[in-house]
């Protein structure tokens, strides 16, 4: 399929197939920006060809505009950062106008947010009317707002209710983004599956707090924020591993991914694709770097199809690979 793609894919050596399937949606490669760390893609257009990304996941969008939190919104922590932006967004109508400015050929996933089940459904319906949107991601795990988000995501029953409402409001492929801050992520994942999700996104930031050592007051205006970055990676790897064993849905892994080696770790524990977030805040060229490294990293592992790497940690790792699963086909 790669020889048939023209511009934007010269970076993919023909010998490695990076394409992956997420239920009904097929992506040219498994690397996506994480919602909330990439805006609506308009800034990154200046330094990145967005068509190189497997898809662009838009910033979480609510029905009406939200101003977000006032005061300090970000703080550094060892191996990562805390943020409490407060889901600042221009509302779904303006978001739809913004994505019209993105180039053709970019696969778009809209992240939807609501304070109520009705709002989730209304935002889903609005995005579904746009031919530019290829899938929806339900944000059930934002820790930085009083209502909605994590308040729904912690509880399997409310996960099921919101997912079913959105399912009824759209025919687009539906991803459900779950939180690490729940006692039983498998129960939440099963609930999303039963309610009609096509894929799961695991996980999200972990609620945290930072104290200012000059004042001994909380750094963030919102007091608590979401922890992201490399500190989160082992937590997200565990979520993906557990859910992969128990729920037959494709998984998008997210949490602390910074390079091609991290991508392979997430594929190995069961993710079919990954999202890169905080690493792109530290290095806006991180996607270029991952795309440059990924084919070689897969080849070095003896694989010429990214899809054949998915879940191998559950089968003993590399030794699970048989020649028919992708060794040596390119030679």
């Amino acid at each position: 399929m790669f020889s048939s793609e023209s511009d934007g894919s010269r970076w993919i050596p023909k010998s490695v197939d990076l394409s992956v399937s997420l239920g009904p949606l097929r992506l040219a490669n498994p690397v996506l920006p994480a919602s909330g760390t990439f805006g609506y893609g308009l800034e990154a257009m200046e330094w990145l060809d967005l068509r190189r990304l497997g898809a662009v996941v838009l910033k979480s969008t609510s029905l009406a505009p939200r101003p977000g939190h006032r005061g300090v919104r970000v703080a550094e922590t060892p191996c990562g950062m805390l943020n409490a932006i407060g889901l600042e967004n221009p509302g779904v109508r303006e978001a739809l106008a913004l994505v019209e400015r993105l180039p053709e050929g970019v696969v778009l996933v809209a992240s939807i947010f609501g304070s109520t089940e009705d709002e989730y459904a209304a935002v889903a319906e609005a995005f579904s009317h746009s031919p530019r949107i290829s899938a929806l991601e339900i944000n059930l795990s934002c820790p930085n707002v009083a209502e909605g988000g994590l308040a729904f995501g912690r509880n399997p029953e409310s996960v099921a209710r919101v997912t079913a409402r959105v399912r009824a409001a759209t025919s687009l492929p539906l991803w459900v983004k779950l939180s690490p801050d729940t006692c039983d992520v498998v129960a939440a994942a099963k609930a999303a599956h039963a309610a009609g999700a096509d894929a799961l996104v695991l996980g999200n930031t972990m609620p945290g707090l930072a104290v200012d050592r000059r004042t001994y007051a909380p750094v963030l205006a919102n007091v608590t924020g979401g922890l992201s970055g490399p500190a989160l990676k082992p937590i997200s790897l565990r979520l993906v591993y557990e859910v992969y064993r128990h729920v037959p849905l494709p998984i998008v892994g997210v949490g602390g991914i910074s390079d091609a080696g991290d991508v392979l770790e997430f594929l190995a524990v069961g993710a079919s694709a990954v999202q890169v977030g905080t690493a792109a805040l530290r290095d806006p060229f991180v996607f270029e770097r991952i795309f440059a490294e990924l084919p070689a990293a897969l080849r070095a592992a003896g694989v010429d199809r990214a899809a054949s790497f998915v879940g191998i940690a559950h089968r003993g790792g590399l030794r699970a690979l048989t020649p028919s699963e992708g060794r040596g086909e390119a030679e």
Partner: protein, 298 residues
């Protein structure tokens, strides 16, 4: 109405490049001058007031830290680093030969030719003065609509020992010093001699007639302010409505490229990102509600 919105909305392209530390010198107890040189390539030329995100690789600091360029002298990129926490302490401990990465130039700097302005007043607040040094350097290099003789500089400091900050401007001009908590010599005179006791803004109003050789009316003046947030707000509230006033803002920042919205401030045109629409914001566009009404005395 004016060209200021277009002027404020066009960020320059940026690069992420390896640099070496050339020199680190302490200027005050909490400010170091960091001189860096590119390991391979020069980044695009920065406009005054733009900033770079400095990354220390392999250390305990994860995110980059934003710093305004003081000046580019040949290939040397000079930054003023105020030590406030873990990241800036690590930068202050760098030694010649250490490696770092510079992402930039980023953000929207000061306008090179503010509409209608014939004279330029730089109001610098203590260790926040660095962006204005880059303005003066650009003036001296002929990159702006001003000549060095058009520029008046008032440097406000808290304590007399911070007078050394005048060195940031001294390659090109001598600032008028204002000292909020001045030391006195044996005869009870303010140190250094001639320093104005008070804030930079107070000094500017008190010495208004002496700032330029000829009388200048407010609509012919642009004022660039850089310092603590209360100073920026005071300048926006007190400077004559007809003057074009621009301020360089600071906030904790994560990405520096407009992605995360971690550094927004509320303005008359909504939330703006200091890393993109800023760090330089204009009173006319962003804070018109702060300007004194026509006829108000300052």
């Amino acid at each position: 109405m004016t060209s200021s919105i277009a002027d404020l909305a066009t960020p320059a392209p940026f690069a992420d490049l390896p640099f070496f530390v050339k020199d680190v010198q302490a200027l005050t107890s909490d400010l170091v001058l960091l001189d860096t040189v590119p390991a391979e390539f020069l980044p695009p030329d920065a406009r005054p007031g733009q900033f770079f995100q400095i990354l220390l690789e392999g250390g305990e600091v994860y995110l980059r830290r934003p710093f305004s360029l003081v000046a580019r002298l040949g290939v040397v990129h000079r930054f003023a680093v105020r030590v406030v926490g873990r990241g800036t302490s690590a930068i202050a401990r760098l030694r010649p030969g250490d490696r770092l990465r510079l992402l930039g130039p980023l953000g929207t700097g000061f306008p090179l030719a503010p509409p209608g302005a014939r004279k330029l007043l730089l109001l610098a607040g203590g260790v926040g003065a660095a962006p204005l040094a880059s303005v003066l350097a650009a003036v001296a290099q002929g990159k702006t609509a001003f000549r060095t003789s058009d520029v008046a500089i008032v440097l406000g400091i808290r304590r007399s020992e911070e007078a050394v900050l005048a060195r940031l401007f001294r390659p090109w001009a001598e600032p008028l010093l204002a000292v909020e908590r001045p030391s006195k010599d044996a005869e009870g005179k303010v140190v250094p001699p001639g320093a104005f006791p008070g804030t930079a803004l107070d000094a500017a109003f008190a010495r208004w007639q002496e700032l330029w050789a000829e009388p200048v009316s407010p609509e012919e003046i642009a004022v660039f302010v850089s310092g603590p947030k209360p100073m920026l707000e005071a300048a926006f509230r007190r400077l004559p409505q007809a003057a074009r006033v621009y301020g360089a803002f600071e906030a904790p920042m994560a990405c520096g490229t407009g992605l995360c919205r971690g550094c927004v401030v509320e303005t008359a045109v909504g939330n703006v990102r200091l890393c993109r629409e800023g760090p330089v914001l204009s009173r006319e566009v962003h804070f018109p509600h702060l300007a004194p009404r026509e006829g108000d005395a300052s």
